[in-house]
Amino acid sequence: MATEITKILKKRKSVILERWMKNQLTDETLREDLISNEELRAESEELIDILTKSLNETNLTDPDSSDFDHVIEILGGISLSRAKQGFSPRETGLYVMSLKETLLQILQEEVKDPADLIAATLNLSRLIDNFSIITFETFIKGREEVILRQTDEITEISTPVIRVWDGILALPIIGTLDSARTQVVMESLLTEIVESGSSVAILDISGVPTVDSLVAQHLLKTVSATRLMGAECVISGIRPEIAQTIVHLGIDLSDIVTKASLASALSFAFATLKVEVKKVAR
């Protein structure tokens, strides 16, 4: 009988917490390095508290009931924070799984009629299983957020504009040049040209593994935009194999100044600015 289950669980709330804590603390996967016992206890207590409060006879058989919104919210918060703290999916999953074990133990002690016990066990299992699935879903979402943040960081890191000399900017491009990257590169280059009043920009593609027609098109666009700003753009870092590939592909880079190395691009820039670098005889 469902009425009984919720009553039993409410009545033995503190026992459930004690046993659950014991289960968790004796488990091998306990991560004392990541979470302290007190924190774990507070988390668990809150969850049981909310769970027993929102549980009643009608929603016991309906895991999608909106009564559990609060429980799901707390579970979501727990697994999100665990994903970010570096818990493994197994450790996070076991947190909810071990609660199920405890609850079923209590039921076994309290419900004597076998048929009632099975019915109660099935209902409770379904409910807690649903909670575990939610835990996993939010756990993965948490990890994805970490990945997304890293992707953003990589895009930011990899497009620095360097002032190598008064009036000369260098922009080393590392990785694949896709549409999104080109946008970032172009924006930061053009802004820096205005800010520094530079007249030569060097795009170094030593770190670009493949130059296909799309990458070439993006490079050409960046060069044209730079020229519109009144600066000359030099592409450097063209490796021998890239040069051969560009020729076979049929990309026309003849009206762009290209150099094999950053050093030769720099000396071209010096020549353009009529700057002479020489050794001083002492």
């Binding site: 493949t210 296909d212 027609s213 098109q217 194999e241 051969q244 590939t245 076979h248 592909l249 990309i251």
Partner: protein
């Protein structure tokens, strides 16, 4: 005298699907791994990877993605990589026109198909309107 029949034998194969822009880079890396495995020279590697990148991007852009079969093939003593790009896109109405330099229905340089052809040793394209396009390219290790 015994007649020698030289036939292309496929030794190792792998299938990858390209469904979004982020799939292009892993695909290129996989092709590179295969090329290194058969000791392809750096220039040929770069040519093959660039051709693969062009065709992969074409597939994404015009057919909303598709599948690529990567194979290590051998012909007599020669080893090579064969890539088969298969999509279920709208097809190409005029292949001859599409193979012209600078022709593009999108806003690209129009070098993908003709450029890829120049970068590899063998190039074959079949397309049926409304059914899809299949491009097969082969690059030999010392070709």
């Amino acid at each position: 005298m015994r007649l020698m029949i030289t036939k292309i034998i496929s030794l190792n194969k792998d299938k990858m699907s390209i469904a979004k822009e982020q799939d292009v880079v892993p695909f290129r890396n996989r092709v590179k791994e295969y090329a290194i495995k058969i000791k392809m020279s750096l220039v040929n590697q770069t040519k093959l990877i660039t051709a693969a990148s062009e065709l992969g991007r074409n597939m994404l852009r015009y057919a909303n993605g598709g599948k690529v079969l990567i194979e290590i093939v051998s012909l007599g003593r020669q080893h090579g990589i064969r890539l088969t790009f298969d999509d279920q896109g709208p097809g190409i109405p005029d292949i001859q026109l599409a193979m012209n330099d600078g022709y593009s229905t999108g806003k690209s340089l129009g070098l993908g198909l003709p450029g890829a052809k120049r970068l590899v040793n063998e190039f074959e394209i079949k397309s049926e309107l409304g059914v899809g396009t299949k491009v097969t390219i082969t690059k030999w290790a010392n070709g």
